[in-house]
Subunit: 357 residues, 2 copies
Amino acid sequence: MKNLETLRWIGGVDGHLRLIDQTLLPVEFREIDCPSVEAVWQAIRTLQVRGAPAIGIAASYGVCLGVQKAAKTDEAAFFRRLDEVTGYLAGSRPTAVNLFWALDRMKSAAARLRGKPPAEIAAALLAEAQAIHEEDRQMCRAIGRYGAELLADGQGVLTHCNAGGLATADYGTALAVFFAAAESGKRLHVYADETRPLLQGARLTAWELMEREIDVTLICDSMAAQVMREGRVQAVVTGADRIAANGDTANKIGTYGVAVLAAAHKIPFYIAAPTSTFDLATASGKDIPIEQRDAREITHGFGRQTAPDGVAVYNPAFDVTPVALIAAIICERGLIRPVTRQRIAEVMGEDKPGGSN
Amino acid sequence: MKNLETLRWIGGVDGHLRLIDQTLLPVEFREIDCPSVEAVWQAIRTLQVRGAPAIGIAASYGVCLGVQKAAKTDEAAFFRRLDEVTGYLAGSRPTAVNLFWALDRMKSAAARLRGKPPAEIAAALLAEAQAIHEEDRQMCRAIGRYGAELLADGQGVLTHCNAGGLATADYGTALAVFFAAAESGKRLHVYADETRPLLQGARLTAWELMEREIDVTLICDSMAAQVMREGRVQAVVTGADRIAANGDTANKIGTYGVAVLAAAHKIPFYIAAPTSTFDLATASGKDIPIEQRDAREITHGFGRQTAPDGVAVYNPAFDVTPVALIAAIICERGLIRPVTRQRIAEVMGEDKPGGSN
């Protein structure tokens, strides 16, 4: 069985980063080696690695690569190089919040060791990157563990878009639930929405599930209602881009429709997302602006023109599912169920991870 | 403005058929001439002309082309040729019911004139083909007229798939409603679902609406819920493949989901279809079998592989919308509202077209 780690560090402090080239999926599986910070920058830029957590981890390792030579110089030269490298990586995907968060964390780790030999700081930076990586892995596993309790052996489940391992260090969020359920001996059958316009469900979710030997059936987004009507699914689990203080959840366009259809068919709809997805400064979904994307994603979706020249297109990147449609939110600290402003505040206020099931 | 007639006969009894090559849309508009029955057979076979009514009309004209030379022979030779031609055309799309209906009607018209000179029969066959053509045009216009009464100036409406003129002689069914509303001075804004997997909405509906200068916005199927939530549409109108005696309606996959979403947003959902779509021998939707189609329609959208090798696919060609979700059925005899078994039986029992609004 092939290695399915989104990315991994090979060797010690003078090692390098290896990652799955996601631009080739699902047609070809190939890992690429990034021996330099420039190679990592390029991998992030060209979407060979994508998904907020995975980008943050890749950038952390990119910092390690960028200071490898400087570890043999003096402190001043080392920190100059560190600034240069983090500034350079920050420009690879300028809108990725996790990227800045990871780079700041790496800089803080180095700053705490000012006065120590550069080689020692370089070693600490590798340890910090590995900690970021490991924390993300633990987060995925915890979400999987809590979410799996919601599913029963033999059930059908539906998911939308890709909240899978490829976007994270390891198991992902929504897909972590399926992987953990399978590990605990529950046989699930997953229906994966292809997720127009960019087909993350067809390209990535279906691939990940097949690779981990979970039964999966690919459908067009327009078929979810029929699949529900035929009694083929007993639960829906998706990821989230942002969760407001009241539980309203922004996620990939189409999620809201799936939630409405689930309610109409009396199927519970669950969100799986780490606590870092909660934005308590946003009171409710109506405060979340809806980003519009390029018309060509729809009109030239398959590399071929499939709509008339100049047609008007409405292409919202995501939608907001109101909290009333969400049966539970699965996060690394446990289940939030029912989803209320107070329960969210309680879970977010917890000092450290722990069951709140 | 270009000619938008799906097909038209050019000249007299020695004329030929001209039709829009639908395989080139929406990238290129080109009409092709069919000077022979072989050319018509080819056009039907290769989907240059598609849609049940349009295929029936094309085949009728194909019969006229096939007997042009035989019109100068004797009666026995003429009828031998007529049998040959109708048998040949019947093989062009073996599952198209309208095709057989049209060919039978042409043969009956000829049979009624046995004993007359072949040239006279050939002329009568052209008149019969033109009658079939004209009746379809009138059907479209009547549906448009009745349906337009349901819509108000300034409204947004949503449609799924292509129930447009390209499938018929003229205005189509669902789209006829929009065209008629526009003619009566109502400015509509139409949202067209792209309609995966075959993208009839993107390729054909958007094209037809733009050509007839109706405001149209193309969306992915997964965006319909968001468009409804934002208050952008006040009605949904789609076509139908088959309507059961109780009003349950089979139509392109995705229609049922749209109907559920419309209900959840308190938006009326209408079906526009000629009375020929009703199948009173089918008691309800559960008696309509769901055809499964080729996985490659989903995994290889338009020539490019977008899903893993060997992935399981569920690809139902259509779904059934239960009558409870249908606010009215618009047919050429008027509105069926509310949709009940009795009202359907009454309308179907009417001797001739007329308002039953």
